[in-house]
Each structure stands twice: as structure tokens, then as C-alpha cells.
Amino acid sequence: MTAVARRFPDWDWLASHGGEVAAQLSEHVELTALAVAAGFLVAVPLALLARRVPPLRGPLLGFTGVLYTVPALALFVLLLPFVGLSRANPVIGLTIYSLLILLRNTLVGLEGVPAEVRESALAMGHTRRQLLWRVEVPVALPAIVAGVRLATVSTVGLVTITALIGYGGLGQLILRGFNRTNATQLVAGLVLSVALAAVADVALAWAQRRLTPWQESRTA
């Protein structure tokens, strides 16, 4: 090992590897977006199903809860026999982790629609479908968006672990920086992944306020 590798911060390394850092950042964003979008597309129908068939509510939450407890690394390894090391591996794994948060928040939101709001909507002549799309979903939106926000931030963190199976976005920088004792590379990965989580959180909080201008401002 040369002394160059231990210099910190190593501006020369940063200057010569800017393209790689940007590529990993964009990979990180992509994996996160894909996983949360897929999780959302699975969780919302599951939540609607649980509403329609109440006996399924417990088992669905229980099952996604069990999936959530599987250690991350183990899950990616468990997926190997099915999807190998293709990109589907990290996307499916990350999707599975987002399910519990998204399902639970969507359900809580739908269940939180006040009974009198549902009652008056039906009594005014909404059909079941109109009740769902015109009243229940919009009223549940704050909780649903909060779920997306939470799932996004937690997925940004989980993406780094997929570096161990060859993906990982910014996780790659952290892992390689660690192996090569390149502190600059390691810190760049760390700082950027934390910043990405923070930016996503703030952006989604802003979207949440824009989507639900009718909400009482809450301090909590």
C-alpha cells in the first residue's frame, strides 16, 4: 500500500473518479426508486384486498412482518437460486423490505377514515368504488405518503448492503474504500448515501404537503 491511498481527503482521487461516483449515485437512486415503486404497486392492492376481505388482514400483515425480520444479507442470498445475481435480486429483495411499511401505512390510512365521513359519503349516493377513490383514498393519502417516505429512506440505507452481491450503488464506494483503505472513497460513499436519504426525506415531505393542502398542520 502506498502512502497515497492513506491521504485524506484525497482530492486527486475525487477529481479522477467523479464519473464513477456519479454512476454509483444514479444506480443507488434507481434501485431505490424501482424497489419503492414495485413495493407500492404490490402493497396498495394488498391493502385494498385486506379491506375487502377482513380475515386476510392479520395474515397479510403477519407475512410481510415475517419477511421484514429476515436479515438483509440472508434474504439476498436466499434469492440467489431463483434469480441469480441479476438485477432482479436486489430489486426484489428491497421490494420485500418495503412491503411491510407500505402495507401497514396504507391500511392504517384507509382504516383511519372517520366512520361518519364514510357514512355520509354512502348516504349521499357514492357507489362503493366512488367511496374508495373519491373519499377513502384521498383521506388516507397523508398516511400513504408517509409510508412511501419512510420506505424510501429505509431503502436508501438497505441499498448499500447489496454491494455484497455486486450492486449497492454508493455501497460499492463504501465497500471498496474499506477494502482498499481508501478513506476518501469510503467517506464519499457514506456522505452521499446519508445526503441522499435526507434529500429524499425532505422532497417527499414537501410532496406530502403539496398533495394534502387540506391537512391540519400538526407539530408531531
Binding site: P114, A121, A123, M124, T212, W214
Partner: protein, 361 residues
């Protein structure tokens, strides 16, 4: 307009909410279903818009069995107001009011015009149109609820304890506004309450109910107060039935007595004669054009009646006041009568306790 034919409603858990109910609700009237909690009055009301379905019997709306119409279509023709109001939190006041017209597919311009009209009708200031429910006061929310129910101009309005959650002052105002509104819209209104005073104030007719959904008496407020059908009704009406009845009868319904009235400056002999004829020891003193000046003891009249020395009648009643107000006026003066006036202070005669008694016995 709305007819219940041998309607029974039993819930899946076996509770009997309504048993063999027959009831006819005439068009354009406010019919109040009143009774203790759990008597089945709310369930009875909900049978009209199929928020509850009868186990036996049928409910007819304008001659048609309500179950022959798809529930959501039936309900768009029936306004519905509940105590918790159930405004949509994600929609502004104007959007809440527009709900049923939008469901019915009205063109945008017509919806907007209708919303403006309704906001004026229920007394909502224009600046509240864009506010969300949590930004409105309790009274405003209740008005939005009423406007929303009236939006598509349904012939029937169901109201379940709509004013139960607001303070007594606002409740009184909302009740007055409902009566004023009804003068303009002439809906068939089914109004549910447990408050007998609210029922007496609002109802053209009252159905006093006891569990399970049994109508003990169905009549006008005045008739129910005068002749309660049984002990249950009597007890439910509570104390002061006579006073409650007086509150329902306008002064105009009783013929006022001319009373012992003499013009200002009349000779003492005239005052004595007028008082004797009326059986009093005082006379009413009138100025030009029947202007009420007050009253004097006959014993105090010297040579001529002196209007400037007359004592005032502090409380006076008019045609539209209630007989209860007249009684109050009687108790506030030594003469024991209520003077009836019109205009500024034009004398129209006096009401005596005997006249009131005749009216209510």
C-alpha cells in the same frame, strides 16, 4: 310522501330495532321522530334511504318501494345530515356542497351557481367557500352540512340530531334558520332528536317513539301536549306541559279583549264606567290614533284622565309572539293583563289569563 307499511327491522345480532311500524309522513312537512336513546328512531329514519334495510314490510317513497331503486340513485334524491356532519376533510366547503351535483354529472357552471346559491341560502359568507372543514367553526360546518344535503334539491331531507353537537345558543339559531329555510324550500323533512323541546319547536308533526321502534303517539305538537296518549308520552313530555303548549300558540290565534280603554283627557266618569264594565280598578290610557300611553288606577283619576301620569306597560306583545310571552307580560304588571300592540305602539286590546285558559284547556 313517505309511508312505512308494517316495517320490522331486526339486526343480524338479533336486536329488534323496529317492530311492525306503520307511519305516513306527509309531503312538505317536518316530522320529528323523538324518543329516548335506543328507541329505534334513527334506524327508522335510515330505512328511508336504505342505510338500513327492513327485515319485513316495506317503505314507500312517493309510492315506490325504496328497494326497487338502486341504493346510490335513491340516496342522491334524499338529503342526509348527521350530528357528526361527516364533511369530507380533503374538500373545501364549496367542494363539499358540490358533492351530489358532481356525482350526478351536472355541468361545471351549473354546479358553481348552485353552490353560490346554497351558501347564501344557509348564511355562509363567501370567503368560507375555499376553506377546509377544519378551518370552519362548528356552526359553519353544520351549515355546510345542511347546504350539502340540499345541493341537488332533493324532495326529502333526513336529519339525525343535526344540532346535537353545537352549544345551546348556536343550536337555537340553527333551529330558527331551519324553520326559515323550510319556508323557502318546503322539503319533506324527517328529523330525529331525543330533545322534546327541539321536537316541539321544529315539528309540524311529532312521532313519540319507544323501543322497539314503536310509535306511541303521532300528532301535532299542540295536540300531543293537550292530550298525551299514555303515561309514556306524558312522562316523556316532562313538566310544564301547559307552558310548552303556550309557547307553540301565537298571540294572533286568540281574540284580544278591547279592555278598559279611555282616551287621554276623558272625564273621570268615563274611566269609572269603562273599569266597571271590564271588572277592573284600572284603565288603559290612549293618545291620538290609539297610541298606548299606559295605565292608571281609577282611584287616582282626579277630574280628568291624565296620560302624562300613566304607568307604563313594560312588556307588550304582538300578533307573532307566543302566548307564553303574553303570560310573561301578564306577570310583569300589576294589571295582570298583556297588552297587544301593532306597529310602534298602536293599542289592539288586552289578553287576560281567562283567555289563555280557554285556549289551552
Amino acid at each position: 310522501m313517505i309511508t312505512f307499511e308494517a316495517v320490522t327491522k331486526r339486526f343480524p345480532d338479533g336486536t329488534l330495532a323496529v317492530e311492525d311500524l306503520d307511519l305516513a309522513i306527509p309531503e312538505g312537512e317536518i316530522v320529528v321522530l323523538v324518543g329516548p336513546s335506543g328507541c329505534g328512531k334513527t334506524t327508522t329514519m335510515r330505512l328511508v334511504n336504505r342505510m338500513a334495510e327492513p327485515t319485513a314490510g316495506r317503505v314507500l317513497l312517493a309510492g315506490t318501494d325504496v328497494r326497487d331503486v338502486p341504493a346510490h340513485e335513491l340516496r342522491r334524491g334524499i338529503g342526509y345530515v348527521i350530528q357528526q356532519i361527516g364533511l369530507f376533510p380533503h374538500r373545501s366547503a364549496a367542494q363539499n356542497i358540490a358533492t351530489v351535483p358532481e356525482l350526478a354529472g351536472w355541468p361545471r357552471d351549473r354546479v358553481r351557481a348552485r353552490v353560490d346559491e346554497l351558501m347564501a341560502l344557509v348564511g355562509l359568507p363567501a370567503e368560507t367557500a375555499g376553506r377546509f372543514p377544519h378551518q370552519l367553526s362548528g356552526g359553519q360546518r353544520q351549515r355546510v352540512g345542511v347546504a350539502r344535503a340540499l345541493a341537488a334539491d332533493p324532495p326529502v331531507l333526513l336529519m339525525d340530531e343535526p344540532f346535537g353537537a353545537v352549544d345551546p345558543v348556536v343550536r337555537g339559531q340553527l333551529q330558527d334558520e331551519l324553520l326559515r329555510l323550510q319556508q323557502a324550500v318546503h322539503k319533506t323533512i324527517v328529523f330525529v332528536t331525543h330533545d322534546i323541546d327541539e321536537a316541539l319547536k321544529l315539528g309540524d308533526r311529532i312521532a313519540v317513539m319507544s323501543a322497539p321502534g314503536r310509535v306511541r303517539q303521532y300528532d301535532t305538537p299542540s295536540a300531543i301536549l293537550a292530550r298525551p296518549a299514555d303515561d309514556f308520552v306524558t312522562e316523556f313530555l316532562g313538566a310544564e306541559r301547559g307552558l310548552k303548549r303556550l309557547a307553540l300558540i301565537p298571540v294572533s290565534q286568540v281574540k284580544a279583549d278591547p279592555g278598559p280603554a279611555v282616551p287621554d283627557g276623558a272625564p273621570r266618569a268615563d274611566a269609572v264606567r269603562a273599569a266597571e264594565a271590564a271588572g277592573t280598578d284600572w284603565v288603559v290610557v290612549l293618545g291620538p290614533e290609539q297610541r298606548l300611553l299606559g295605565w292608571v288606577w281609577v282611584a287616582d283619576v282626579a277630574e280628568r284622565v291624565d296620560g302624562s301620569a300613566a304607568r307604563e306597560f313594560w312588556l307588550r306583545v304582538r300578533a307573532e309572539d307566543s302566548l307564553r310571552a303574553a303570560l310573561d307580560a301578564m306577570l310583569s304588571t300589576r294589571t295582570g293583563v298583556a297588552v297587544r300592540i301593532s306597529g310602534e305602539d298602536r293599542y289592539e286590546g288586552v289578553l287576560t289569563r281567562e283567555l289563555l285558559t280557554e285556549e289551552i284547556v
